[in-house]
Symmetry: C2
Subunit: 313 residues, 2 copies
């Protein structure tokens, strides 16, 4: 039998269907209606239905959703999905699609997949850091996924790193994800474009400095554009600040960088490694932390959700 | 048989001798010679010898030292003890005192003691945050002390919370312990005193604004001095920023506040609770985190080290 896994992020709902061996047979995606819980569940149901119609023989559905997810399938709160407040996603989606549904945090799903078959394989102390619209996280410590007292561990995007800094969707200032995310990269790119420092970014954005997004920056950086590379270096510095904070607390041996930004590969990962080495505390006295890109790409969360679904009793 | 436990912080070496039931029979302390590893071990040996001479029948010694401590008794690096670099403390101390010595991180020792007999008893997901010269930390997650890949977990004092902020002993800027510590409280007190806003602090410091230390601030706050209470509120805000960061990552159910600052009790703890509630993310959607003072006071680390020693094979 097959399972369908969904990854619900701030931008898109991505679904995959996997077979018993865990091989991805197909995917489907729609934009995330982030401000309305009912529409969000309807979008999730649409993705399930499309994949189910194409492939049949689906037994279970898993979904990873950004935010505070209880162990009994309730999405309590999500800073980047304003429509998600006390939303019984598992029950609603199950009723909509007529299949059992398991719910978990999106980053936890991604780490489950990367640990089983990707960049976290064989590592007992490892953190997944998903750089997307926001920043998600999940930890395996001493070989076990850490859920926390309420199941809410890993909400690292709202770690304050710059106390008087950029206002955040959570109502505070200076949260890590305001900088170390696709959103942050886009903002830094627009600032460079508006200041006249980044003509290639403006070009890629169709001539409008205010239309510059994160993917324009990584694309220009991949071409070798100096202005874009400088913006990526600033982003990498912010990413490294948070990674060092996490390693100070948790002493992980490896960071797996996922999320949309990791899709850019070494253009992003190499500057993060350099910036990390510049900021590590007591680096001479501890093993070098590995920083690697997620291997399952943007499908990691959906695949991990499908793995979760396949393990349902 | 009895065990001796030592707690080596940035300011003092505190030793206790405990009997088989874990009852503390006596304590002895000396100032920490922090800049010289040989003198530091000699100071530790002196404390052991004094307690041993007084009580006899001591079988084992445990020591908790701030910094990166390997599982085989090496103190690799300590930001607040500049004399500690690649120092085989367990071997050196054992040779000096003729007893077997177990070594661990100081905050890990304190949490071991608080979990066994103090403020962390019965809690499966709990962090100790020791506010002293610096900030130390240790975590119990799912009921187990988390050591990390190299044994270096819990070095939370060097979590950056204010990226362009106050220079830190670690060479970076804006580390949490520059603010949320006795050192930070003293600096904030001196700033208030020098600005002429805190006459009572100047008085307690013997008339010299530059002599104001953290304990003058907590003493004046306990008297109800408005200027001191305002400084404590600023400190509490900084403490809360880091506690929220940790809870976002780890989802603990309780914080146990230890270290020298916790000695002030509710004068410190209550403002931290209020500041935490103002800053918690998604507070309406998660259980309220408990913030309590350590119960074993400044002896916690030494008692935990003695418990570690008593458990030596």
């Amino acid at each position: 039998m097959r399972s369908i896994g969904l990854d619900v992020g701030g931008t898109k709902v991505l679904g995959v269907v996997v077979d018993v061996s865990g091989t991805v047979l197909d995917e489907h995606r729609v934009l995330t209606p982030s401000t309305d819980g009912v529409l969000l569940v309807a979008a999730m149901a649409e993705v399930v239905t499309v994949l189910h119609d194409r492939h049949g023989e689906v037994a279970t559905v898993g979904a990873g959703v950004a935010g505070l997810i209880t162990r009994d399938g309730m999405a309590r709160f999500s800073p980047n999905l304003s429509g998600v407040v006390e939303l019984p996603v598992a029950a609603l989606l199950s009723e909509a699609v007529g299949l059992p549904v398991a719910l978990d945090n999106d980053a936890t799903c991604a780490l489950r997949a990367e640990h089983r078959r990707g960049a976290a394989r064989g590592v007992d102390d490892v953190a997944l850091v998903a750089l997307g619209t926001g920043v998600g996280g999940a930890f395996i410590l001493d070989g076990e996924l850490r859920r926390g007292a309420s199941g809410f561990a890993g909400e690292i995007g709202h770690m304050v790193v710059d106390v008087g800094g950029v206002p955040c969707v959570c109502g505070r200032r200076g949260c890590w994800e305001r900088y170390a995310s696709g959103t942050g990269l886009g903002r830094m790119g627009r600032e460079a474009a508006e200041a006249g420092r980044a003509p290639r970014l403006v070009e890629l954005a169709g001539g409008d400095p205010l239309a510059v997004r994160g993917e324009h920056v990584t694309a220009a950086a991949a071409e070798g554009d100096a202005a874009a590379l400088a913006v990526v270096d600033v982003l990498a510095g912010w990413v490294a600040i948070g990674l060092v904070n996490l390693c100070q607390a948790l002493d992980v041996a490896r960071f797996v960088i996922g999320g949309g930004l990791a899709e850019a590969g070494d253009v992003i990962i190499e500057p993060i490694r350099r910036a990390y080495d510049e900021r590590a505390v007591g680096a001479a006295y501890r093993p070098r932390v590995e920083i690697v890109a997620a291997q399952l790409g943007e499908q990691a969360g959906a695949v991990g959700a499908a793995l979760l679904a396949a393990s349902m009793p």
